[in-house]
C-alpha cells in the first residue's frame, strides 16, 4: 500500500496531471475553434465543437476514476474532482453556445463584439492553463488569478454593451429573440465559470501549503 506509493514515484499523480492538462488544452482549442467559426461564419467548424465536448467528457471520466484509484491524498481528491467538473461544465456551455449559433442569424451589429468576447474567452482559457501549471510548481497564483479577473471584467464590460446594442435590434419572432438572448447569455458566462475554476485552483494551492 504505502510502499507502492513510494516506489511508484507519483506515477498515478502524474497521469492525473497529464490528463487535466490535456483537458484544459482541449478547452483552449475549442475556444479557438469557436472564435474562428464565429468570425468566418463556418458552421462546420462550429459543429466540431460538439465532438470536442464529447472527447472532453471522456477525459473527465478518466481523470475522476484515476483519482479515486488512489492518486493524491484523500484530503485533496474532492477539490481536484470539483475543479475537473467545473472545467467540464465550460465545455458544455461552449457546446450550448455553439448550438444556439447554428440556430440563429447573428445580427451584424453584434458580430464584432461577439468575436471580441470569443477572442477573450480563448485568452482566459490560456491563462487558466498557465495558472494550473503554476499551481503544480507550487508558485504563487495571485498574479495569474488577477489576470483572469481582468479578462473577466473586460468581458463583463462588453456584455453590457452587447445587451444594450441587442435591445436596439427589432425582433419579429419570439423564438428568434429567445435564442439570440440565450446565445449572448451563454457566450458571456463562459468567463464567469473559468473564474470559478481559477478560484478552485487557489483553494487546492492553499490547502497543500
Amino acid at each position: 500500500m504505502f510502499l507502492e506509493k513510494i516506489f511508484s514515484k507519483g506515477n498515478k499523480e502524474n497521469q492525473v496531471i497529464g490528463h487535466i492538462t490535456k483537458q484544459i488544452k482541449l478547452l483552449c482549442t475549442a475556444c479557438g475553434f469557436f472564435k474562428t467559426a464565429l468570425e468566418t461564419d463556418n458552421l462546420n467548424l462550429m459543429r466540431q465543437i460538439m465532438d470536442i465536448e464529447r472527447s472532453a467528457d471522456n477525459i473527465r471520466r478518466d481523470i475522476i476514476s484515476k483519482i479515486y484509484e488512489g492518486a493524491f491524498l484523500p484530503y485533496l481528491r474532492p477539490d481536484l474532482c470539483k475543479f475537473v467538473e467545473i472545467v467540464d461544465s465550460i465545455f458544455d456551455l461552449l457546446k450550448d453556445t455553439g448550438y444556439r449559433y447554428l440556430d440563429l442569424k447573428l445580427p451584424d451589429q453584434l458580430k464584432s463584439e461577439c468575436v471580441q468576447v470569443a477572442f477573450l474567452n480563448r485568452r482566459i482559457c490560456e491563462m487558466l492553463l498557465i495558472t494550473f501549471e503554476s499551481m503544480l510548481k507550487g508558485e504563487d497564483l495571485r498574479e495569474k488569478i488577477l489576470a483572469i479577473r481582468i479578462y473577466e471584467k473586460k468581458i463583463d464590460d462588453i456584455k453590457f454593451d452587447l445587451i444594450r446594442d441587442a435591445r436596439k435590434i427589432e425582433i419579429t419572432n419570439f423564438w428568434d429573440g429567445e435564442i439570440l438572448s440565450q446565445f449572448l447569455s451563454c457566450l458571456t458566462s463562459i468567463s464567469d465559470v473559468i473564474e470559478d475554476a481559477s478560484d478552485h485552483l487557489q483553494i487546492i494551492h492553499v490547502s497543500m501549503k
Binding site: 464584432s112 491563462m127 498574479e143
Partner: protein, 134 residues
Amino acid sequence: MKVKEFMTTNIESIGYKRSAYHAVEKMVNRRIRCLLVRFPGKEKEYGVITARDVVFKVLAKGIDPKKIEVSKIASKPIVAIDQNTDFKEVAKIMEESNIARAFVCDQDRIIGLVALMDVMSAAIIARARGEHVS
C-alpha cells in the same frame, strides 16, 4: 501585448457643433470619460473632449454648458496609436503627451480607445503570461 488586445471598442462621438451640455449628458449617461469630436471636411478630422475639459474649461469658469460649443473646448489633433503597437510603447506615448487616454486606429479608421487602466491591466496580463515586462 498589442494594444488592440486590451483596448475598448466602445467609442462614443459627438458632432463639433453640439453643446457642451450635450457632451456632458452623453458622458454621464454612458459612464465614459471622453468623446470623439467629429469635425467636417473631406479629410476626416477629429478632436477629443474629456471630462477634464468640461469641468475645468466650462464648469469651473461658471460658463453655461448649453451656451458653448464642443469645438471650442475640444483638443485637436487627437493622439492615435496603431492597433499593433506594444503596450509598453503605448505607455511611453501617453507619458510623453501627458494624456490619460488615446485612440487606437487601423490605418485611418478609429477602432478603439485605450486608457491608463487598460495599460496597467495589459502589464499584469503580460507578466502572468510570462512575457517579460521590463
